[in-house]
């Protein structure tokens, strides 16, 4: 039985539909990341589940019980907000204690509960401080501690790392999985950073246009994106695309006048496709079989190097190589490239749907 399930969830304001028929079930202890660009209603979905907003249609079940009509205080969920939403007139300790006090826990239970999560999140030294005296990182940890304090069965995290600096975000990203597993809660985690999504998720639900376009493990989403849109959202640099046509046997694809072997599904032979090639699947070769191209610019990206290339027919695309690779070419170098099969994806030009397994 799933710990959290919602089905056919819709929300509309007048004629404007935020989302339409969302369904998802999450097991106990599972971390599901709701991923989407800004304005897709991710935060709103969390609010529906928390109960501070009401759905237009659909049902929400927590632990098998229908909670759609139940007010937020009786749902046994914890939530951390993007803007932290700490109670400004209470100390960090009282903030964290608030869910325990709401359950009428005795003083000793409150004390031990607060110190447990405070230790876990390394904020036990600032418990006496008011929120305004905390650094951004401490605020964020206090907000997480408050969400965890009452050991809720459902944990809703609304882009909790959005408002902390890059270094802290990175550290928390490494720390969070362990923390969340320890809590044992079913986690819905909202983010618009694909790296965060891949790093934290057991499963990712990609929200776009008011529905889940794909729900799957990070591996499924990255290696087999269900639509062109999903493929573009995951990966930095983003996937290269080109509208083209497959050869009759489906083994070759024409790239601005040059046929390149891609070894994909034969049954798609002859049809119009959108070709997607991940930048890290572009390999430089000396041989003549590849696609001739010119290096336009070399732009290092962390420990990788991104090349802007232009094929002889004028197709502009990116390649991403480890910066330790032996021969990073100079700008204006002429070279050939081939594509590694696992980084090549074919999509329907009209629907954007994935065309192969």
């Amino acid at each position: 039985m799933s710990q959290l399930a919602f089905s056919n969830l819709s929300k509309a304001f007048g004629s404007f539909k935020v989302f339409d028929g969302l369904s998802l079930a999450a097991e106990a202890g599972e971390i599901v990341v709701i991923f989407g660009s800004s304005g897709t209603g991710k935060t709103f979905l969390l609010r529906l589940i928390a109960g501070v907003e009401e759905p237009t249609t659909g049902t929400i079940e927590i632990g098998g019980r229908d909670v759609t009509e139940i007010p937020p205080e009786q749902r046994n969920v914890g939530m951390a907000f993007q803007n932290f939403a700490l109670f400004p007139h209470m100390s960090a300790r009282e903030n964290i204690a608030s869910p325990l006090r709401a359950a009428h826990a005795d003083e000793a239970t409150v004390e031990s509960g607060v110190s447990r999560v405070a230790k876990l999140l390394k904020i036990d030294h600032v418990l006496g401080h008011a929120p305004r005296e905390l650094s951004n990182g401490q605020k964020q940890r206090t907000a997480l501690a408050r969400a965890l304090a009452a050991e809720p069965r459902i944990l809703l995290l609304d882009d909790p790392l959005r408002n902390v600096d890059a270094k802290l975000r990175f550290e928390m990203r490494l720390e969070l999985p362990r923390l969340l597993r320890q809590s044992g809660a079913t986690v819905l985690y909202v983010t618009q950073d694909y790296k965060e999504a891949m790093a934290l998720a057991d499963r990712i639900a990609v929200l776009a246009g008011g529905r889940f376009v794909q729900v799957g493990t990070p591996e499924e989403i990255y290696m087999a994106p269900s639509t062109l849109g999903v493929a573009k959202l995951f990966g930095d640099p983003s996937i290269n695309t080109l509208e083209t046509r497959l050869s009759a046997d489906g083994m070759w694809v024409a790239i601005r006048g040059k046929d390149i072997r891609i070894d994909k599904a034969a049954k798609l032979g002859g049809r119009e496709v959108i070709l997607g090639v991940r930048p890290e699947a572009v390999a430089l070769t000396q041989s003549q079989v590849g696609l001739p191209a010119t290096v336009m610019a070399v732009t290092p990206l962390n420990e990788r190097v991104v090349l802007l290339l232009e094929s002889d027919g004028g197709w502009e695309f990116l390649a991403s190589l480890p910066s330790a690779a032996a021969d990073i070419p100079e700008p204006n170098t002429r070279l050939s490239v081939t594509f590694a099969a696992e980084g090549v994806h074919l999509f329907d030009p009209t629907t954007g749907e994935r065309l192969h397994g």
Partner: protein, 372 residues
């Protein structure tokens, strides 16, 4: 196209009670056609420097010259400088196209030529479709690209770009970085790029000037900054994920040099891994700060043993965090690595990948086998 020279540049902001020394005796030479990034966190003095070069801020002392001409006494319009502003600063009553063409019009270029220039720049920046729209009706990312276009379309001796790509749509960023770098190089544009984002600086710049507390920390190519950071600050600041830094005790024996790290683990190398110069530099020291970049670790059975905290695959790389002696050590692999949290693994690094810093001053002592 010009050579920019900043010499002994100082900026002091005085108010009634306090004075802030924002830029301290800053020397910098930008060669003609070079792209230089001023990189630092907020308050490091990079924006003050940019504003002095543009002429929005007076120079407290020192001088700025461009093409051999002293410019810091001139008004902004006389300096021959084009600038893209962080806050876009587009003219609201003009369309995107008119904004971009503004300086061309002022320079009385023939209309046909204006059109071609604007069209080319707009195509490069993917805003050709919105040239007739007004700034208020397009997104932040599009406004930022228009502001960039307005600066790049001009012929100027120097281009100043203030956080030019912060708002760009993630899916466009990599391509635009490549196109802009290509454009600046083809047109031989001398460029100063101000940013707090090292990804931006690394991608675009030929050389990076790292600033902190108003002081230039290091001025070098991106590759040099990574391989040979001048001090602990640049070492820790440059690189993503950041460098792991350990307090280490050095024991130099006849055969091996050992680094004892907090938490009871140590790394040992044959003496021959270090050049005689480095051996001499190390000989007198007991404590150093030892830096190892996440990518330099080999994940497997090395001497730095600990339990896996998390193992996160991001598509083109894997981040593995390991608890070693109570602290989190980060290693990164370009390949896909599958390690279960809680399992014990060992990390190792080659002597060539060690960065040794003075424990007191933070100055670099040696990088890999050779002295700093």
């Amino acid at each position: 196209m010009g050579e920019l020279v900043l010499s002994k540049l100082d900026k002091v902001y005085r108010s009634k009670r306090t004075s802030v020394h924002a830029v301290k005796s800053f020397d910098l030479t930008v060669k003609p056609g070079e792209i230089v990034a001023l990189l630092g966190s907020s308050g490091c003095g990079k924006t003050s420097t940019l504003r002095m070069i543009a002429g929005f801020e007076e120079v407290t002392s020192g001088s700025i010259s461009l093409d051999g001409r002293v410019i810091h006494t001139l008004s902004p319009s006389q300096r021959g400088v084009a600038m893209a502003f962080e806050a876009y600063s587009l003219y609201p009553p003009l369309t995107i196209g008119e904004n971009i063409a503004f300086a061309l019009k002022a320079a009385r270029l023939p209309a046909a030529q204006q059109q071609i220039l604007v069209k080319n720049i707009a195509e490069m920046l993917e805003i050709a479709g919105i040239l007739n729209r007004y700034p208020s009706s397009v997104s932040g990312g599009q406004q930022q690209r228009a502001s960039l276009g307005r600066a790049l379309v001009r012929k100027a001796s120097l281009y100043l770009l203030d956080e030019p790509m912060g708002q760009l749509e993630p899916q466009l960023r990599a391509v635009l970085r490549g196109r802009i770098k290509h454009f600046l190089r083809e047109n031989n544009c001398t460029t100063i790029l101000v940013t707090h984002d090292q990804t931006e600086a690394n991608a675009l710049a030929d050389r990076i000037a790292v600033m902190e507390g108003g002081v230039l920390q290091q001025y070098a190519t991106p590759a040099e900054l990574k391989a040979r950071p001048a001090n602990l600050f640049t070492g820790a600041f440059i690189g993503e994920p950041p460098m792991n830094i350990f307090d280490a005790k050095i024991t130099a024996a006849a055969r091996e040099i050992r680094f004892d790290i907090e938490g009871g683990v140590s790394l040992a190398y044959p003496v021959s891994d270090f050049s005689p110069d480095v051996q001499r530099l190390i000989a007198g020291r007991r404590e150093v700060a030892l830096g190892i970049r996440p990518h330099a670790f080999h994940i497997g059975n090395g001497a730095l043993r600990g339990k896996v905290i998390s193992c996160q695959w991001l598509g083109d790389q894997t981040h593995v965090a390991v608890d070693i002696g109570g602290r989190t050590v980060v290693s990164v692999s370009h390949a896909r690595v599958d390690k279960q949290p809680g399992n014990e693994i060992g990390l190792s690094a080659l002597a060539a990948d060690l960065h040794i810093f003075d424990a007191e001053t933070g100055r670099a002592v040696a990088h890999g086998g050779s002295p700093a």
